[in-house]
Symmetry: C2
Subunit: 307 residues, 2 copies
């Protein structure tokens, strides 16, 4: 049982109301890998980095069971760089800088050693790249999940729609679900999006939790009301990594198990935001994770006598 994760490995500069870092390791692929590694190994990473990406980070990932055969290093270019500043509400941010650097040439090659993977997580990249990875796989994975964003809806909608016909789970935020469907009601938006291809739709709502839609079913996972949200960067990718990592571990892609997987993703995301970058993800113990899962159970449990 293995999981391929395709996504960026990058540097971020982040400013939040609580602090600032000029350069910290980031990227969707990095967060997905650290999160999923709580549940399953190997994670077969596909990404591209520049000469400046720290060897210690690669070593740390390897130590946790992340295979890097699919990570291309470009000797004369810098890694992808993103810089953003969060508003006080932490749900909104301004992008200050996007330096594509190596990402401009990203043309992922799936290593032979990755063939046969049963789970595939496509991080937020151009639909063209996502499609290329799918097409290189000789055996279709048991489950393909993908992230996307408004940017691709603006400039590559047709490509995006093509990818949607080939995947199982789409993970986007509420604004993106509204944009993609042209519907304001999330219930209606979900129905339309599910008719475009995916069997499951996860709508991420940040501090307001997440919704999972499948056929006529809907599940709502709350977010824990946290004392401190230090840095939300990577929370969505951590959520995705925890989600697919748990599915890959349990090999069960039923709606019932996906609900549990969403709680796993939410729990990991609640750790992610406690420190800058992926740092907090490297420290989570089994005991801490169990304690947090127990908080989720408490958070939504109630008694109704429907007799």
């Amino acid at each position: 049982m293995s999981l391929i994760s395709v996504g960026t490995m990058a540097f971020d500069a982040i400013e939040t109301p609580f602090g600032k870092v000029d350069q910290i390791v980031g990227g969707s692929g990095t967060y997905v890998a650290y999160a999923a590694a709580n549940f399953i190994t190997p994670i077969q990473q596909i990404s591209i980095i520049g000469y400046d990406f720290p060897q210690e980070e690669l070593d740390e990932l390897k130590k946790r069971g992340v295979e890097l055969d699919g990570v291309e290093t470009v000797a004369d270019k810098k890694s992808f760089f993103w810089s953003g500043k969060y508003h006080l509400d932490m749900n909104n941010r301004d992008t200050l800088v996007t330096d594509l650097n190596v990402l401009a040439d990203f043309n992922p090659i799936v290593p032979d050693s990755y063939q046969g993977a049963e789970f595939l997580m496509l991080g937020n990249l151009s639909p063209h790249i996502q499609l290329s990875v799918i097409n290189q796989l000789k055996v279709r994975p048991k489950l393909i999940a993908m992230d996307s964003m408004n940017f691709w809806m603006d400039i590559a909608l047709d490509d995006l729609k093509e990818v949607l016909t080939k995947i199982d789970v789409l993970m986007i935020n509420d604004a993106e679900a509204r944009q993609l469907s042209g519907e304001f009601s999330l219930a209606k938006a979900a129905r339309k999006i599910l008719s475009m291809g995916p069997k499951f739709l996860v709508i991420k709502k940040g501090e307001h939790g997440a919704l999972l839609f499948h056929e006529d079913h809907v599940f709502f996972a709350p977010a824990l009301p946290l004392e401190e949200v230090f840095d939300p960067t990577g929370a969505g990718d951590t959520f995705a990594g925890g989600f697919i990592g748990y599915l890959a571990k349990t090999k069960d892609i039923s709606f019932t198990n996906m609900k549990t997987a969403i709680i796993m993703g939410s729990a990991l995301a609640s750790f992610c935001v406690e420190k800058f970058g992926p740092n907090r993800l490297k420290e989570i113990t089994k005991k801490e994770l169990d304690a947090r899962l127990s908080e989720f159970v408490q958070l939504v449990s109630f008694d109704i006598d429907l007799a």
Copy 2:
């Protein structure tokens, strides 16, 4: 076992993306009464109306067990009138007109027949009026819940803080909780507000559900993802009415029962938004309510093995 409800009985003019009404019955007291009457009678109403308030509405309320001895009619003035227009997202609205009319002279007198009520719901009114009602009660109710809003935090904060020392449950929205506490994190805001007097704090987040805080406990109630939100007016008051009506019916003010009460309020609010004004609230059958409660149970149920 009886419940006193203090609030406005009024006319609203409402414009939403889905339609427009120039004059429809509204007011916090009206919504609370219709919602609470699903669970308990009598509801002892305290309000003030003008000559123009429709007799049929009063008859309808009476028929449902709402006592009107505490509703003052002013023969030569109009009822309170509010007019608002909702944005597309339905979570935000602009107030177009506020004609206080009879409300300018509202000086509620608690009828003798209401003395001894065990539950008191103070709708969103000036803290001065809320305090006056509390002070007129010869025996303190078993539970006092109150609604408030940013307007009173702006112009009557000291009075509001005094009322907070005399009540059990405060129900406000997330922006108001942030304003009242000066904290952005809702977890921190809740801790501060609970130190001001209330034993329970309900933070209403509209389409994102509601949070209940008590001591170190927190409960999250989702909102159903609805296909259509036709008119959100009164949803918060309906929620409050369902909440306190259920508590009054069950006579149990434990945290555990309050969680159930919040689900009851959420379910009633989900009906309220389906039609303009309180119309939908007048039609709810027991079967419909049970079906909706079952949707809430489904919405948040998941399996976690914490072994």
